[in-house]
């Protein structure tokens, strides 16, 4: 692997107005780097969904993006409650989002399924009461 660029973001918990800022920022960077639009779209949607998840469920966290000429790796880490049943959480339409969040239009149960759909690999490490780390890769 050649040179890798690293972008780090702190994702603010409970702040819906800034939720999604990090993925917009990454999108701009990838555009500047001349990545194909299709790749940029996949990265930004997957990262956006993950970012929103951290805000809704985990009180925020960190997003680290590693860009190489061949791939984009996104690592989202939080110290939230953890995911009780990962395979259930991966089901389309399943959501544990609270009512106040749903009223904002989030919590449709499509977050994790979309992240999987738009990436080439997705790995979830989660421990109840400790936190969740999701690693996604989009290859060119």
């Amino acid at each position: 692997m050649g040179e890798t660029l690293h972008f780090h973001y702190d994702v603010d918990g409970g702040n819906f107005t800034s939720a999604g800022d990090a993925s917009v920022h990454v999108k701009r960077k990838l555009r500047q780097l001349g990545f194909p639009p299709e790749t940029i779209k996949r990265v930004s949607i997957a990262m956006y969904e993950g970012e929103i998840n951290m805000v809704i469920h985990a009180g925020g966290g960190t997003a680290d993006v590693f860009v190489s000429p061949e791939s984009v790796k996104i690592v989202l880490a939080d110290k939230g409650p953890g995911i009780e049943d990962i395979s259930l959480a991966m089901k389309e339409g399943y959501s544990t989002a609270p009512e106040n969040v749903r009223s904002l239009g989030f919590g449709a149960g499509m977050g994790l399924p979309n992240m999987k759909r738009y990436t080439d690999s997705m790995d979830i490490e989660s421990e109840l009461g400790v936190g969740t780390t999701i690693t996604m890769t989009v290859n060119l």
């Binding site: 660029l5 500047q32 001349g34 990545f35 779209k41 000429p69």
Partner: protein, 431 residues
């Protein structure tokens, strides 16, 4: 991409090199070099923000002058509905249209009339199956250009119908040729009275918007406003010229085009910063249930254009009064149950919006990454004040400029002060 012909330019004598425009330019197209603002033509979208914010009136919108149009034997004015909101105590649009004839135009064709035609065809068009939703209005040329430069995924969402001004121009020209068979095509001048520099640019660059234009010249709305004022004061009873309805006049203000779709799943945003946020959100797939999106670069819609005279919100209030007792629409000859696939071809652009990115650092991705790494490492050394004193709008832009060889790291005023302090400290120690 072909060369883009701009309508925002700088009066270097008036420019003081302050940071007002620098900081507000939404596409970071401005730099201060040698004490003067410089606009990067590749990035500029002619939104006119710099014209509005310049305290020294050093930014100008370039348009044709009223005196220039005497070269046409038969002059047709295309007044936009935003013009109607500029006058105090006006209870009928006819006074303005009569005024245009009185100052020397031979005919008038209201853009608002064509807007009602576009609204009608848009209602039909969005019923087509399989369209990428939401449909994004193509009436504001700033938005169309912005999408072509920065939003590759939204290019195919842009409404492929001609903008109202173009339909007005075509109809006005046809009418002139039909009623005055003695006129040769080159005798006719179709002249748009523009509320903003972006529409002037649109006319100059219509090929980039996917069609040939029928407009021969653009005069600034503010120039015509002052021409009209004197005439309208002296005016007798005007001829009943206006044929616009509520819908057409509504196009002058934000939300007017969207409400005319008669569908509640729409969004209307105005002001270039809000527009950016909406486009980013749509590109992220955030608005799954929208049918139509109307975006206006100027606050308040076209009444907020940099070539208008009146405060946009006052203009909007006046338009509400003007259109109050008008029919909903006076220019829609088709029926709502017409077939959505039978929209006449002449109402469509000939080619769609094409993505032409401007922000790429290099052709080769590995090279672009090397450049970005260098930008990042320089950026880490900068104070992050984004003060603009170096001539770039942000410290990050300054870092980019340094790497591109367009700026010198020594120009950072905060670093300069630190160096000076060190020098003074050293001198004190040696005493």
């Amino acid at each position: 991409m072909a060369q883009y012909n701009h309508s925002v330019s700088l009066d270097a004598d008036r420019c003081k090199g302050c940071t007002n425009c620098l900081k507000r330019c939404p596409t970071e197209a401005i730099r201060i070099r040698d004490g003067k603002a410089r606009i990067n033509p590749v990035r500029c979208i002619d939104c006119g923000v710099c014209i509005s914010v310049c305290p020294h009136n050093a930014k100008k919108a370039v348009s044709d002058k009223f005196a220039d149009i005497s070269r046409f034997k038969y002059k047709i004015a295309l007044p936009p509905p935003s013009l109607y909101g500029q006058f105090d105590n006006l209870d009928d649009v006819d006074y303005i249209l009569q005024g245009l004839l009185d100052i020397g135009f031979d005919d008038v064709y209201e853009v608002a009339r064509a807007a009602e035609v576009v609204s009608g065809f848009t209602r039909l068009y969005i019923r087509r199956k399989g369209l990428p939703k939401p449909i994004i209005s193509s009436a504001c040329p700033v938005i169309v250009r912005l999408i072509s430069l920065r939003f590759p995924y939204l290019c195919e969402n842009v409404l492929p119908l001609l903008p109202p001004v173009e339909i007005a121009a075509a109809r006005a020209r046809q009418r002139a040729l039909a009623t005055h068979p003695e006129l040769k095509p080159e005798d006719i001048g179709v002249i748009f009275i523009s509320p903003c520099p972006a529409k002037v640019s649109y006319v100059k660059n219509s090929a980039l918007f996917g069609h040939e234009t029928n407009i021969d010249a653009c005069i600034s709305l503010s120039e015509i406003y002052f021409e009209l004022l004197g005439t309208m004061r002296a005016s007798k009873t005007p001829l009943p010229l206006s044929r616009s309805g509520m819908i057409g006049i509504g196009w002058a203000t934000a939300g007017g085009e969207a409400t005319a779709i008669f569908n509640d799943r729409y969004l209307a945003a105005d002001g270039i910063e809000n527009v950016f946020r909406v486009l980013e959100a749509i590109e992220n797939g955030d608005f799954p249930n929208l049918e139509f999106v109307e975006l206006n670069a100027c606050p308040g819609g076209c009444v907020g254009g940099a070539m208008t005279v009146e405060n946009p919100y006052i203009a909007q209030a006046r338009l509400q009064t003007l259109k109050r007792y008008l029919p909903v629409s006076q220019n829609w000859d088709f029926r709502e149950n017409d077939d959505e696939n039978n929209i006449p071809k002449e109402y469509f652009v000939t080619s769609g919006v094409e993505y032409s990115p401007v922000s790429a650092l290099a052709q080769d991705r590995a090279e672009a990454m090397r450049i970005m790494a260098e930008i990042q490492s320089i950026h880490e050394t900068l104070p992050e004040l984004d003060c603009g004193s170096c001539g770039a709008p942000t410290c990050y832009c300054f870092a980019e400029d340094i790497v591109k060889g367009e700026a010198n790291a020594e120009e950072c005023i905060v670093h300069m002060r630190e160096r000076l302090q060190k020098l003074l400290d050293n001198q004190n120690e040696t005493k």
